[in-house]
Amino acid sequence: MIATAYIFAQSASDAMSGIVGGTDARALIVGLLTGVAFGAILQRVGASSFEMIVNMLRLKDLTIMKFMFLAIAVAAVGIYVVSQFWPDQAHIGIAPLYLGGLIAGGVIFGIGWAVAGYCPGTALVAMAEGKLDAAITVLGGLVGAFVLTLIWDPVKSALVDPLNYGNKSVPDIIGAKPLLVAVVFAVLAVIFIMWLDRRGKGEAAEPGGRHGLLER
């Protein structure tokens, strides 16, 4: 119930809401520049690399996993600092919790992730780097999204409508202040990242191993 105060209609999440963020010139330019930074960060870290993604899923090189968790931890605190102190500026959108669709869609997605070696965003970046297989993944994605439109009615009634608990957030469920939950979550995430990092270091203990937190 508290969280509903943080949900703003104009950005009520990607999930089934139509226009996100606006269509005026300023929105389009800010969106473009935000995307340029997003694409450049993914490219520079190596998150658009097939090898980096597949080796993360094979649990051989957790660099991308640590990168993602750290980005999430920083954003969690940042987003809820914004929502705490500048609530009118916080365009938070909590996606609906429909268990069937999240789990079924997640299983389909997870298989596609390992087979393609990209996810929908990293495929765009890898395509931009010139990688032909990533361009084919983007094409497959356009077809996959199109096929969903053809089977949407049965999918909706089987996976989206049942077991749908609405726009639930963790602070909402435990009834705590969102910023406090975000800080606790971020601390736990950083501890987890450091544990992953030490574990990676142990595995790559040979000379030249560079999984260290403070190296490079």
Binding site: V20, V30, G35, F38, G78, I94, L97, F109, Y165, R216
Partner: protein, 185 residues
Amino acid sequence: MNAPTGGSAAATRAPAASTNRRMNWILGGILLGLLNTFAVATYGALGVSRNYVVVDSLILRLFGSSYYNTSDYLSSYPASADWLLMLALGMVIGGFTAALIKGGLNTRAVPRLWKSRFGDSKAKRFAAAFAGGFLLLLGARIAGGCTSGQVLSGVAQLAVAGFVFGATIFATGVLTAKLLYRRMP
């Protein structure tokens, strides 16, 4: 769980030449977290997969089909440019520019790791890349988001849906990758 023998971790690391050009993941993670905060403070959290739906509508429009109006699913999304579509376009420009400046442009068809496991057939790699992309967007649109919208942004916004989706994709992705590359060091 996964306890590789001494040599395997070294064997799977990318050669120094390609990793040295990369940005440190700590710096990258902090920058991406700040970028997502900026996005939420301006128009909305980062997300990608829904743009595949919008591009489908744009393509249908280009070919004069009105299906984007009659499909319940497509018509719940815009068939024109908005902030989030520009974000995807920006990602392509940003990825291209970063690769251009840092010497990462590469028009290869078959990734090295794929080649060492499945051979150098382009047809085989393209078939898998297409099937993978198909499953990625089918799954993401059923769930209402992908690694960006549901995980990077959803979990950061402490959405329970993001945690459920994130745990599911990692578990399934790891199982599938272990199975696909089971004979690899």
